[in-house]
Amino acid sequence: MRRLLGLLLVYGLFLAQVLLTPWGPDLVVLAVLAFALHESRAWATVIGFLGGLLLDTASAGSFGAATFVLAGAGWLAALLHSVVTRGRWYIVVLSLLVLALRLAVARLAGAGLPPLLPLAVSAGLTVALAVPFELLIGRLFYRQ
């Protein structure tokens, strides 16, 4: 039930992100990483895969890029969480890494680069919100 609600939340955040301007934070990436920290590696990969698939439907030119990167990021986050038991600092690094990798893979797939300034603001907001978002998901879904 909790996992189903988590997927619904990811979908809701995806819809909100589509409505937001390009300046807004990447809510799907934040949600995928936040859930991945609390789940097993398999389930974290599933959430990443589905979240990436959602993002790919909104960017037809690089279909597959977000799916690939977020599935890998979900797995990596869950792995890190099982290894690093103290602190949540790595989610900040992971969010920045995911954004950069997603952009790089999409560029390799032939997609154009988005405008630099909105991209920088969006990335900054995403990184800034990473830890608070993870804490919120922990409180709401895992009672931590």
């Binding site: 589509v18 037809a60 597959g64 977020l70 599935a71």
Partner: protein, 277 residues
């Protein structure tokens, strides 16, 4: 919960999913577009229905605006036909049309005595012009600027409107009573007024065309100690809730004589504006 050992089934499953993403990325470009379009059609359906709802709402608002204008025009046409029907009535007014004027401000004390609308001289709105809603008369324009006009509603203490009982044809003068009601002055004790009667403009003076609905009688009492009958009524136009009204544009030269102000609805030249009091 979080097996530390790498290479178990969870990692193999993750590898398969990541590989699926990579396969999608390596598909030919047209096929990728096709897949994204099909998936997007399903996944973005809620947003599309939201957009359709918004568009529908916009369309309904436009339709409502158009129908309001139509209703006001029909009320005017009805009044014009009514004045044609009565030989003794004033000649029908021609060359007039309606200007839709959104309400942008109200008097802060009652929210219904004075309204400011966002149409002024430039839209052909001039002082003395009647202000109407689809349901009935709202009041009179008493001052204008190039882009705004001040409307004195029926609830203003200075407002007077010559009315006629649509059923019994008894004339009277309506003025504000408190914040919500109107009362009729000089109603003879033997006159025929009953609760539910509709009062329409009498058409005296040539500004308000005759026959426009004004108010509904709510109480008619014959007090033995009073000289006249006590009649209370409620305006048909919901003035406190109006978001827009219609101002009757008066062609140059058709305005009433400003000296002839024995009925205030003819030319409210003596009216003191709220800020001058």
């Amino acid at each position: 919960m979080h097996p530390r050992r790498l290479g178990n089934w969870q990692d193999r499953f993750a590898l398969v999913l990541a590989a699926l993403g990579l396969v999608a990325l390596l598909l030919p470009r047209p096929l990728r577009f096709q897949l994204a379009a099909r998936a997007g059609a399903v996944l973005l359906a809620p947003l599309r229905s939201l957009e359709e709802t918004r568009a529908g709402s916009r369309r309904l608002r436009e339709e409502n605006r158009r129908l309001e204008l139509l209703a006001a025009e029909l009320a005017l046409e009805n009044a014009r036909l009514h004045s044609l029907d009565r030989a003794a009535g004033p000649p029908p007014l021609t060359g007039r049309d309606l200007v839709r004027a959104p309400v942008i401000s109200r008097d802060l004390a009652t929210l219904r005595r004075y309204l400011v609308v966002s149409r002024g001289n430039r839209a052909g709105v001039s002082p003395g012009a009647p202000a109407l809603a689809a349901a009935g008369v709202v009041g009179t324009v008493i001052a204008t600027t190039p882009n705004q006009a001040l409307v004195q509603s029926l609830h203003a203490p200075e407002s007077r409107v010559a009315v006629t009982n649509r059923r019994s044809r008894v004339p009277a003068i309506a003025r504000a009573l408190g914040v919500e009601l109107l009362m009729l002055d000089y109603v003879p004790k033997d006159s025929d007024f009953h609760p539910g009667d509709t009062l329409v403009t009498a058409g005296l003076g040539g500004i308000f065309p005759s026959g426009l609905p004004v108010a509904l009688v709510t109480m008619a009492r014959d007090d033995p100690a009073a000289l006249f009958k006590t009649v209370h009524c409620r305006p048909l136009a919901a003035i406190a809730r109006l978001e827009a009204l219609f101002v009757l544009r008066i062609p140059a030269g058709a305005a009433a004589d400003p000296d002839d102000d024995w009925l205030d609805n003819l030319a409210p030249t003596g009216t003191l504006l709220p800020e001058n009091r």
